[in-house]
């Protein structure tokens, strides 16, 4: 059961999504600014950033709903604008406010969706419907927000897409529905090496389920790497100085300081030994170092003053 990677047996390791130097402007506003992103197959890729950072615009390019003004977008090696059928038939998509036809019953919606996808698995759809306790005879617009999200999830999963694309899937939903969505993400990737790309501002969720993380701010990818690498190269260090100081210290590798008086804590990038050496030079010593959560790292990387373009 144990293998190098759950999906290591895949013979084809070509990226599922490959974006190179993508820039998009809406009038005077730059929504995406030179974005490059590679999503390998068989992983969960988390896209994090505040509202308006550019995550949805990026996802719309992957779906071929927006044409690249500058740069290239390839999904399964194809251009999603030029070959929408070839790309969209292999993507399962769920957005925060899914626009499902409200007047249909759940059963009708399933029949309708099925017509578009030759790979639709009716038994799987039925299994999900009963697991989620969704009434097939219910009219979509009468469902609660959580049940509507579950219906959207069934519609996105039942043709077993190679890429599951979720835009803020759990925004505004209760914890039980969020659990269902996270469960679906995990099942999708555990199941024959499919790939998941999802955007979220809930960092604890992203930390749980992601193999890779990209942090987006002001239309730029500020930082992207394998989550394991991110966690291994970032840590928190508390430094104690000989006397109280009024301003945050400066040390190489320290990304973001918080503190007061003699004790200051930094989220650092690099090796603990480097911070210890830097502290010693300033007549201070490291009194504790602890792991940094993705939340800490996000604040340090994205919340800190980083010279980027327009604020949105």
């Amino acid at each position: 059961m144990i293998s190098e990677n759950v999906n290591a047996e895949r013979e084809n390791n070509a990226p599922v999504v490959e974006i190179h130097d993508l820039t998009r402007r809406f009038g005077p506003k730059t929504a995406l600014d030179g974005v490059s992103l590679t999503v390998p197959p068989g992983v969960v890729y988390g896209l994090v950033g505040e509202n308006g950072a550019g995550k949805t615009t990026l996802i719309k390019h992957i779906l071929g709903l927006l044409k690249a003004q500058q740069g290239t977008v390839r999904v399964f090696g194809r251009d999603p604008v030029e070959d929408p059928v070839g790309v969209l038939s292999r993507i399962g998509y769920l957005a925060e406010e899914t626009s499902l036809p409200g007047w249909m019953t759940v059963h009708e919606l399933m029949r309708y969706t099925q017509a578009f996808y030759p790979t639709w698995d009716e038994a799987f759809a039925e299994q999900l419907r009963s697991e989620f306790s969704v009434d097939a005879r219910a009219i979509v617009k009468n469902l609660s927000k959580g049940q509507r999200a579950r219906v959207g999830l069934i519609a996105a999963l039942s043709y077993r897409p190679d890429l599951l694309l979720l835009d803020e899937p759990s925004s505004g939903l209760d914890p039980i529905v969020r659990r269902d969505i996270l469960g679906a993400i995990i099942r999708t990737i555990a199941d024959e090496g499919r790939t998941v790309l999802f955007s979220s501002h809930l960092l604890s969720e992203v930390e749980r389920v992601s193999d890779y993380v990209a942090m987006v701010r002001g239309g730029k990818i500020v930082f992207a790497d394998a989550l394991d690498t991110i966690k291994e190269t970032h840590f928190k260090a508390s430094v104690q100085f000989g006397s109280a100081r009024k301003t945050a210290p400066e040390m190489p590798g320290a990304l973001h300081w918080e503190g007061f008086g003699r004790e200051w804590t930094a989220v650092c990038h690099g090796r603990p030994a480097d911070i210890e050496a830097a502290a010693a030079l300033q007549d201070a010593r490291v009194v504790a170092h602890t792991p940094a959560s993705l939340d800490d790292i996000f604040v340090a990387r994205v919340g800190a003053k980083i010279a980027v373009g327009p604020e949105d």
Partner: protein
């Protein structure tokens, strides 16, 4: 098998799984020869990516805590008991290290700490006899001291 994942303290999730399974083996709640849940099953239960569980199992296998059996899943290793003892020492060592670090910070010497350990051990002895009353008294006196 009870595992709790927290994304707040920052410890990598695979390491949380490794540490907790080692702890479960050390404390005897997982026994030698016991079967581990398949990667996918545990991933879905803990709501973490299967690659994370795979990495945790890989580390546990390298540490000799679990072993793969061809086409038949993952089991707690036969070397379990020896390892369990090693792990028990490690758990205690970590606690002692933390205690010593804190004592140093407060300018207490090692001898004072050892004396305190003996003193506390003596104070706790009645509880070892299975009497619940002294425990309640103890908690009460501690809260009064504060």
């Amino acid at each position: 098998m009870q595992i709790h994942i927290s994304t707040e303290d920052g410890t990598p999730i695979y390491l949380q799984i490794v540490n907790q399974i080692k702890y479960l083996v050390a404390s005897g709640r997982l026994e030698t020869g016991e079967e581990m849940p398949p990667i996918r099953v545990l991933a879905e239960r803990l709501l973490v990516t299967p690659n994370t569980v795979a990495r945790a199992y890989r580390e546990l296998e390298m540490a000799g805590v679990v072993e793969k059996r061809r086409t038949a899943g993952t089991y707690v290793s036969d070397k379990g008991s020896r390892l369990a003892q090693h792990e028990q020492w490690k758990i205690l060592t970590q606690r002692v290290d933390a205690l010593l670090a804190e004592a140093t910070q407060m300018n207490f010497g090692v001898d004072q700490v050892v004396d305190l350990v003996r003193e506390r051990s003596a104070a706790m002895r009645p509880i070892d006899d299975g009497l619940m009353r002294p425990m309640a008294d103890l908690t009460e006196s501690i809260s009064k001291e504060k």
